[in-house]
C-alpha cells in the first residue's frame, strides 16, 4: 500500500471515541486530513510518513469549545483570533465557537466571513456564533439564513440576554427553521442591577451587590417553555445554578431539544472563594454556592449537562486591576479546561474519562452540528487530541498563549496534560 502524502500514525495510545463507540488500544492513521484507519495496535495497513508515540496517552476527538470570546474584531488588546486559537490548541481544542460580542457586534455576514478568513491566523477551526438580534440590542432579529450560509453555527446575544418574550420566541422559531441552536446567556438583568457576585453570605460580608440565582433559573424556565412551544433547539450557556438545572432536566424529560454547557470554573470554585476583592474571581454568571456545585456535579455525571465550555473571556491586566465593582466579568479558560475536568471531575468525583471526552468533544460537536468532527470514525476530519491523564503540572499564567492572563488558576497544580493537538491532520500544538 502506498504512503499517503500528508499522513501520520498515532501509535500505541488508548482511543476514546464516544461517538464512534470505540474505546481501547488502537492505532490511528491519518491521511490527507482525514481519519484513514483505526486498528488494533500494530495492525494498521496503510503506511505513514510520520508517527507519534502515544503510549500512556489518551487519543480522543479534538475538543470543541462552544463558548469562547476571541475579542476580534475590535478588542485586540485583550485577544486576537490568532492568540485565542493558539491558547485553544494548547488546551486541546480543535474547534472554537466565537461569541458575537465583538466590536462591532457580529450580526453581519461580513464580520462572520471576516472572522473565518485565513489572514486572521487561526490555529484551530473558528466557528462564529452570530448575534441573535441586530447589535444584540434585543429588538430586531438578525438575518439567520444569510448568517448560517456565511458560516454561523448558532445564534446568541450572550452577555445581553434576550428578555422580551416575543423576540425570544421568534428567535427560536427562526433558528429552528434553519436547524441551528439558539444559545441563551440566562440572566434576568432586571434582577441583577449592580450585581458583582452571587447573592449570599460572602456578598453580604464584602458589601457587594448580588446576582441572585433566580435571575438565571427564571429565564431558563421561560426559555424551556418557549422551546416546547416552538420545538426549537435551545442551548443554555454556562449553567451555574441548581434551579436552572432543574428546569433543563424537566425539558429533557419532556423530550425537548434542550442542551446546556457548564464551565470549568463553575464545577471547580465557590462564591466563598471571592476573597480580598480579587477580580480574577469575578465572572458572570458568578461563582455559586456549594449546593449549586453539587447539582452541577450530579448533572455532569448523569448527562443532564451536555458539554463543558470555557467561556474564555480575556481582559487586560489594567482592566482587571481596579475596584471590584468596576472590573469587567470573565476569565481565560482554554488552557486549563481539560486539566480541571480531570483534576476535579475525574479524580475527585470519579467521572470516567469517556464521559469527559463526551463533554469536551462529541457532545459539543453535535450541539452545533459540526459534521465529521467530534469523532474518530474512519472518514471523519482528523481533529485529534492526545493527552496524558496522569501527568501532574503547574499552570503558569505568564506562559499563556492568550494575550491576557486573567485566571484564578495561576499556580494551581493540576492533573491531565495536553501532549498534542491535531487539526485536519496537522499538528498545531505539541507539548
Amino acid at each position: 500500500m502506498k504512503t499517503a502524502q500528508n499522513s501520520l500514525l498515532i501509535r500505541g495510545g488508548t482511543v476514546i471515541d464516544p461517538a464512534g463507540k470505540v474505546e481501547g488500544q488502537f492505532d490511528v492513521l491519518i491521511a490527507d486530513g482525514l481519519v484513514a484507519e483505526v486498528a488494533p495496535r500494530g495492525k494498521v495497513k496503510g503506511k505513514a510518513a510520520d508517527s507519534i508515540d502515544a503510549r500512556n496517552l489518551i487519543v480522543a476527538p479534538g475538543f470543541v469549545d462552544l463558548h469562547v470570546h476571541l475579542r476580534e474584531p475590535g478588542q485586540t488588546h485583550k485577544e486576537t483570533i490568532a492568540s485565542g486559537t493558539a491558547a485553544a490548541a494548547a488546551g486541546g481544542f480543535t474547534s472554537v465557537c466565537a461569541m458575537p460580542n465583538t466590536s462591532p457586534v457580529n450580526d453581519s455576514v461580513e464580520i462572520t466571513a471576516w472572522m473565518q478568513q485565513a489572514e486572521r491566523g487561526a490555529v484551530v477551526n473558528v466557528f462564529p456564533v452570530a448575534a441573535a438580534t441586530i447589535g444584540s440590542a434585543g429588538e430586531k432579529l438578525a438575518d439567520y439564513a444569510a448568517l448560517r450560509k456565511a458560516g454561523a453555527v448558532a445564534f446568541t446575544d450572550d452577555g445581553r440576554p434576550v428578555l422580551n418574550d416575543s423576540v425570544m420566541r421568534e428567535a427560536l422559531v427562526q433558528s429552528a427553521r434553519i436547524g441551528v441552536p439558539l444559545i441563551q446567556h440566562a440572566e434576568d438583568t432586571r434582577l441583577t442591577t449592580g450585581g458583582q457576585m452571587n447573592t449570599g453570605a460572602t456578598a453580604f460580608r464584602l458589601g457587594l451587590r448580588g446576582l441572585p440565582p433566580e435571575a438565571e433559573s427564571k429565564i431558563v424556565e421561560r426559555d424551556v417553555e418557549l422551546a416546547k412551544a416552538t420545538m426549537a433547539h435551545l442551548h443554555v450557556a454556562h449553567v451555574s445554578t441548581a434551579g436552572a438545572l432543574k428546569a433543563i432536566r424537566r425539558g429533557k424529560k419532556d423530550r425537548l431539544r434542550v442542551t446546556c454547557e457548564v464551565t470549568p470554573h463553575h464545577f471547580t470554585l465557590l462564591d466563598e472563594e471571592v476573597r480580598d476583592y480579587d477580580t480574577r474571581f469575578k465572572m458572570n454568571p458568578p461563582l455559586r454556592s456549594g449546593a449549586d456545585r453539587e447539582a452541577i456535579w450530579a448533572a455532569l455525571a448523569d448527562g443532564a449537562i451536555d458539554a463543558i465550555a470555557t467561556d474564555h473571556a480575556p481582559h487586560a491586566l489594567h482592566e482587571k486591576q481596579v475596584e471590584f465593582d468596576r472590573a469587567p466579568f470573565g476569565l481565560i479558560g482554554l488552557e486549563t479546561a481539560l486539566a480541571l475536568a480531570i483534576t476535579v471531575l475525574h479524580r475527585r468525583k470519579e467521572i470516567p474519562l469517556r464521559r469527559i471526552v463526551e463533554l469536551l468533544s462529541s457532545n459539543p460537536a453535535r450541539i452545533v452540528n459540526l459534521r465529521g468532527r467530534g469523532t474518530l470514525a474512519v472518514g471523519s476530519i482528523a481533529d485529534v487530541v492526545l493527552f496524558d491523564p496522569r501527568a501532574r503540572w503547574t499552570y503558569d499564567a505568564r506562559q499563556t498563549r492568550s494575550r491576557s492572563r486573567n485566571t484564578p488558576f495561576d499556580g494551581w497544580q493540576l492533573y491531565g496534560r495536553i501532549v498534542a493537538t491535531i487539526v485536519g491532520g496537522r499538528i498545531v500544538h505539541r507539548a
Partner: protein
C-alpha cells in the same frame, strides 16, 4: 520598620482583637494628654472619592494637631476626573512622598486593592457598603466611656443595615467582645443573611423586640444614594422603625443612643431625639479625633 500590611487599617474583620484593645487604649491617652508634634515631617494624603464631613475633618484634625502635613485629594478636583485609575493615583501619591493614604471610596474593597499595590499603609475611611473601621472603633470607645465596658452588652442596630458599612464594622467589632447584637429593619434593609456576619447576631422586624433590654441603641440612616432600584415606602418605614422617645423607653433605663451621622431628623429618628441626654451623637464625633490619632500613630509606627 513594621510590615505595612500590619499598619494598614482596612477593616475590623482583618484587625486582631489585641490591636482593637491597644487602639482604644492609645485613644484614651491621646484624649487626656496635650498634643505634641509626634507626626512632624509626616505626610498624610486624604484620598476622597466620596463626600464626607465628619470623617474627613476628624482625620485631618487628628493629623494636623500632631504636626503632620496633610493634603486632600478629591475625586472631582484632581486627575481622577480625567480618568486616572485608583492604582495610578495611589502610585502618584506614594511617589510624592506620602507616608499614609487615608481613602474613602464608593466601591467596596477599593482600599484593599490599593493596599495590595502601594508600598505605604492604607487606612480605610469607608468603602462602599463594606466597612468603616474608624467609625466602629470610635463607637466602641464611646460605649466604653459611657458603659465602662464592652463585654456582653446588648446592642440594637436599627435602620439600613444592608447598605451600611458602619453596620458591618460595628457588628464585627462588638461581636468580638461577646456583645449580643440585634439588627432591626424591613427585609430589604435588614436581610436574614446578616446573621452570618458574626456569632451572636439576630435579626428582627419588630423594633420592640430589638429595643427590649438594650444597653446600646444604634440608629442608621436610610442611604438614599445606595438604594439603587429598591422602592422604600417612607411612611411605612417611619411607622414601623423610626426611633422615638416612647420606643426608646423599652430599652434599659441607662441606654445610650448612638448614630454615626449624618442624621436625618424625622426620618430614622424623631426630631428631638438627637438632643436628649441619652444621645451620644456629639460625643462620638468628638471622640473620633482621638481615636483617629491612635489609628494614624499605629499606621506611622509612632510609639508614645
Amino acid at each position: 520598620m513594621q510590615n505595612k500590611d500590619k499598619r494598614s487599617l482596612l477593616g475590623i474583620e482583618l484587625l486582631p482583637t489585641e490591636d482593637i484593645v491597644s487602639i482604644l487604649r492609645l485613644s484614651r491617652r491621646f484624649q487626656r494628654s496635650r498634643p505634641k508634634p509626634l507626626f512632624k515631617d509626616k505626610r498624610i494624603a486624604l484620598l476622597f472619592y466620596e463626600a464626607s464631613t465628619r470623617t474627613r475633618i476628624s482625620f485631618e484634625f487628628a493629623a494636623k494637631v500632631l504636626g503632620a502635613t496633610t493634603t486632600l485629594v478629591h475625586a472631582s478636583a484632581s486627575s481622577i476626573e480625567k480618568g486616572e485609575s485608583l492604582l495610578d493615583t495611589g502610585y502618584t501619591i506614594t511617589a510624592l512622598g506620602a507616608d499614609v493614604i487615608i481613602i474613602r471610596h464608593p466601591s467596596s474593597g477599593a482600599p484593599h486593592v490599593l493596599a495590595k499595590h502601594v508600598q505605604i499603609p492604607v487606612i480605610n475611611a469607608g468603602d462602599g457598603m463594606h466597612e468603616h473601621p474608624s467609625q466602629a472603633l470610635l463607637d466602641a470607645y464611646t460605649i466604653q466611656q459611657r458603659k465602662k465596658k464592652l463585654d456582653g452588652l446588648r446592642v440594637a442596630i436599627v435602620g439600613d443595615i444592608f447598605h451600611s458599612r458602619v453596620a458591618r464594622s460595628e457588628v464585627l467589632l462588638l461581636s468580638r467582645f461577646g456583645c449580643r447584637i440585634c439588627l432591626c429593619g424591613p427585609p430589604e434593609l435588614a436581610p436574614e443573611v446578616a446573621t452570618t456576619l458574626a456569632p451572636g447576631v439576630t435579626v428582627t422586624r419588630n423594633i420592640g423586640e430589638a429595643l427590649r433590654g438594650a444597653d446600646v441603641v444604634m440608629v442608621l440612616r436610610i442611604q438614599k444614594e445606595r438604594l439603587a432600584s429598591l422602592q422604600l415606602n417612607v411612611d411605612e418605614y417611619i411607622a414601623n422603625f423610626q426611633l422615638t422617645a416612647e420606643r426608646l423607653r423599652m430599652a434599659k433605663r441607662d441606654v445610650i443612643l448612638m448614630h454615626p451621622g449624618p442624621i436625618i431628623r424625622g426620618m430614622e429618628l424623631s426630631g428631638d431625639l438627637a438632643d436628649m441626654p441619652q444621645s451620644t451623637i456629639l460625643d462620638q464625633v468628638h471622640n473620633g479625633v482621638a481615636v483617629r490619632m491612635a489609628i494614624l500613630a499605629r499606621a506611622l509606627g509612632i510609639k508614645i
